[in-house]
Symmetry: D2
Subunit: 366 residues, 4 copies
């Protein structure tokens, strides 16, 4: 009940602190027979690594993943897949200055309130490094989804006030710029913005967008385990996410029924929607069209400007957070959002397998 588990059938348990010995994840519920190797995982993990550009963390983290169980002769066996990344340097000294203070925008204070004390080294369990386990598991979920014809595209939609222009949307551009934006022009403007904010010892937020293609209709459970409800939990559980929306999202508040409703039409015997304001989910169940979601990411809380805070001796003190901090969380969070979406979609696909007696008969009366 301590919250490091996620999923119902495809279940993950993550563990590890920023400056502990290692971080990792146990994936239980991956079916047998999926070809899998460490390279499949490493490709995903590399997407959350800091880059070489000036606005991403200059630390040299080479986060090499090891698969310790659950794979035999290059295929998953159906038993738990344990994966781990050792922390190369544990650098406790770098962070000792913050052991007695509560950094604004961080979880230092709430961890102390909850547990009575905390592993203060680099944020401990509340560090962004916690997402290593999510991404490693997400790599497996994504690979399995692609075997079923389901693909996920995730990117930075906006950084600060720089937003992509859908007229210039280029899927192939996403991996070409360090900001993971599908619009080279916007990426270039955003880089300028980030340089400016770094010079100001400040940071900015942004929006991540995620599109899912190939999801069959009928996945998601009515009432509490709606597809969007579970996706909302999955994405909101990522540190720094402050909002999530589907399809037209918050814009529905000022829309009308006539506009927001998606009509249906039949073409060549196939039922389709005439628009997709709903973002691919109706009544919590996938409708077969593209799933669209967006997450709002807050600015990096670690900034070099002076802020007001309190130390454990209850003194009011100024604080400046120095060190190697990105002025933006968005680009590195793109693969984390994609991973959480993949894990949730797969889990709910599995959950949907018992919706109809006919499906069950098909499985057992072969």
């Amino acid at each position: 009940m301590a919250g490091s588990n996620f999923g119902n059938i495809f279940k993950i348990s993550t563990w590890g602190e920023s400056h502990g010995k290692a971080l990792g994840v146990v994936v239980d519920g991956c079916p047998a027979g999926l070809p899998l190797c460490e390279e499949d995982i490493q490709i995903f993990l590399n997407r959350r690594k800091p880059g070489q550009s000036s606005y991403t963390t200059p630390r040299n983290e080479d986060d090499c993943v090891e698969i310790l169980s659950g794979v035999f002769e290059e295929k998953t066996t159906g038993t738990p897949i344990s994966m781990l990344v050792y922390n190369k340097s544990q650098r406790s000294k770098d962070y000792s200055a913050i052991s007695e203070i509560y950094r604004p925008g961080h979880a230092d204070y709430t961890f102390d309130m909850k547990y009575g004390f905390r592993d203060y080294r680099g944020g401990g369990r509340s560090s962004g490094r916690e997402t290593i386990g999510r991404v490693a598991a997400g790599a497996i979920a994504s690979k399995l989804l692609s075997e079923l014809g389901i693909t996920i595209l995730t990117y930075s939609k906006s950084i600060g006030d720089v937003e992509i222009d859908y007229n210039r949307f280029d899927k192939n551009e996403i991996m070409k710029n360090p900001l993971y934006m599908p619009d080279a022009d916007a990426a270039s403007k955003a880089e300028s913005l980030l340089k400016e904010k770094m010079a100001e010892k400040n940071s900015v937020g942004g929006i991540i967008e995620c599109l899912v293609e190939g999801m069959p209709a009928g996945v998601g459970e009515p009432v509490f385990d709606k597809l969007d409800a579970n996706l909302a939990k999955a994405v909101m559980s990522i540190g720094a996410v402050k909002g999530i929306e589907f399809g037209d999202g918050f814009a529905v508040a000022t829309s009308t029924g006539l506009t927001d409703n998606d009509g249906f039409k039949c073409e060549d015997g196939i039922i389709k929607k005439t628009s997709n304001h709903a973002g691919g989910i109706l009544g919590g169940i996938s409708d077969g069209s593209q799933i669209i979601l967006r997450a709002a990411i807050k600015p990096t809380p670690s900034i070099a400007s002076t802020q007001n805070t309190v130390n454990k001796s209850l003194e009011n003190i100024p604080v400046e957070i120095h060190g190697r901090h990105d002025p933006i969380i968005v680009p590195r969070a793109v693969v984390v959002v994609e991973s959480m979406v993949a894990i949730t979609l797969l889990d709910m696909l599995f959950m949907s397998m018992t919706s109809k007696l006919d499906t069950i008969k098909k499985v057992f009366n072969e």
Copy 2:
């Protein structure tokens, strides 16, 4: 796994269709010793009833709740509390016209895709009447929270483009107008808007805001069961919700670290935040300040205007949804959001009881 269960320690299981015999909920995990009677529940249920004004459903639903178990001599016993509301009239005939078509904006199509067929009477399980079970359980959770000094205020923040003015914010006004707005002036403008939209056979959306006072710091689990993650799932699981945000929410995307970070200060030996952009949650854990969340609610999908759709014979046909439909979902959803928030907060308070060995020793070594 079919999604009608919610909660980890304070668990609810809802059931029932719009036009079935009854709807209800089983609450398992309510501690023994809480004074409880049917009136406590009925007050909450009445808040989701349609009013008498022209823009809310004119149906006469008197949804009387019965407590069937779990209460003895006017106190909860610790065993499951089963509550039920009988459907007074089952009116199957009213809805037979829609049995063969897929209403735009409704879950008719996705239910058929998922299950092969559906209970088409009034939307069946996907009807707004499904929320009766949530609200009945929410009444219990709210009562228990108030015993611990935690209170929840929920209201309509905007209806269409009519938004409340915080300078005119009056908590006591909320229950005085049928739109549950804390600003009489905005409520009056919103009523005009709704009349206009009804005349146009159209409908509008809006935003619900929820404020929690008295939540102790330290509640919420790191990583997946963050307080905001579980609240996001809870609220997003309500039909018609298309987005959720906490604190500054989507505005963080264009904010900066300097603005968005909440500083800390110590006054009279008590640590407080100097602002509350975070909305009371840091790293997924309550920080002791007010919890703030907002949900975007889509326009009522049932509208009398002509829309394009398809029937089960795969014919493209026009459809007009007549009947007693509100042009706005927001006001009736206010108590549903409050209920889901209450259930989640209580569940997570319970989950937090084992965070520290000291707390456990206090409980068992009395």
Copy 3:
């Protein structure tokens, strides 16, 4: 977390007290498309009703079940099935004498220790009537299993020291005698024993045996959710069960590897075991042969003989439990064991559907 929920995919939530308004169950996770009517449930419930013979409770309980949701046009819809039995007479007066004392062998004392007080009417939630919900859910699980070719045979193996003789085993005899024994001769001897024990104001225990035919090989999860582990929990959760065993059970303690191991042989291309000491489960996974389990049931704790106990005023007092109590629990528990086995088998069949990638591809790439 209060323990009235069972199952992972096929989930049940039971509720109700012996002398409350009603008892019932919500079944969530029953697939759509199963033909189901109240008669299907009633047949099962009638098997737990007291008979007319002298050694079963002479109370006239006619426990009529009502289905309140989840069934439409005589088929399950995939949404929760709520079922309820109203308590005809609530007879509070009969039981008021026991409100202040702790009956030996009952849960009165432990309920008071756990909750601070209890619903003392007829045992409240700890009454045997609690099993109504289990049996109603078991009827659905059994019907669904039979659609998949899986059948369960449950009966009284022994009552006191009267044991069935497998040479006289007659499956059709089970429903013919009120003790549900598959051996008419043993049933007759057991009836004499029960008369004797009643005259002595005493009671006896016995053993229930359960055989499952048609279970496909490969069901059950390694490690914690072994098929036998989940069955053990399911059956041990029935009041009065004090032990459970599979296959040779406790006899393995004095057996040897040479005897206990079941060999394999291949006949006409089909692999079979040459014996079944394991009781159909190897490594927690079904092996395709008959599943065999036995549960030990304690004697009825309510006896008219004088026993020593304590009242709430902490006085040592004698107590005699008068009223309409069977001198044996075994026969009425037969259908409860069968129900719990059915629910568990179905849930684990569903869990096993994601063991292989091939099965998943078969379901989604149709």
Copy 4:
């Protein structure tokens, strides 16, 4: 849902195969503030190691545990504790002979039926080495229980037909003989029996008994999460266990109400039972007296005698399982039973913390 997770609040996820890179466990839900070091875990793991005597495996396995997360400055932090044991030698060659055959009494056949193939090296996930994760987690649970005054004593009650004599019962003897028997005389006889069975290329079973002292009354949830139900699942999930019983266990079948009921008495204002046939659990809830349970363990299935089996080419063949196999599982399983009991008791203690409103108020209104 793949079954490698156990527990509700104190949750464990185990992973690893006999001959994979490593085996381990993630413990989520351990409260912050428990002093913990690797030595605490190693002491427990050493109890499941093979000894030097002739009847236990002569392999030199030094299973050194590493704690990778969740402990900071020698105390648990409340975040997941990841522990791992590397497999020193992976010895694939030793086991290659069995890759194509189904060993009688092992899970080879059922794994193939479930997953389509298996990691055949040393039994893979179905090996006894799987219990390393259970025991590591059990060490933590036991340490925490002892902080609350709860202690567990587990030992071999019988080996083959050699049973301990309670008149010679000596708690301190348990750790002195390699069979973990509390009776030196019985241990000596059992050693002779084992030598005899080894010479015969055969093996024997036995019974493990477990006694819990200090468990407060009121722990365990009515209906499905009864204390004995969850213990039954926990213990039955250990490979080789074929039966479990509580208190008088299977003997209740031939007992009577007068004998089996435990009376109550009050001495010096304290309520006690006059006997303990129930084994410390009434109605699924602890009654404050000693908890007593016993598990039946089957003989080691790996024996050097010739047995009949089948290979993957469906040929009927003889098989002799050579290698370093104990002729008895019981002694090494003693600490595994103790671990599973500890994990379950702790989890249920945590679950019981929300039974009463008074307890909750005490925690939050400090």
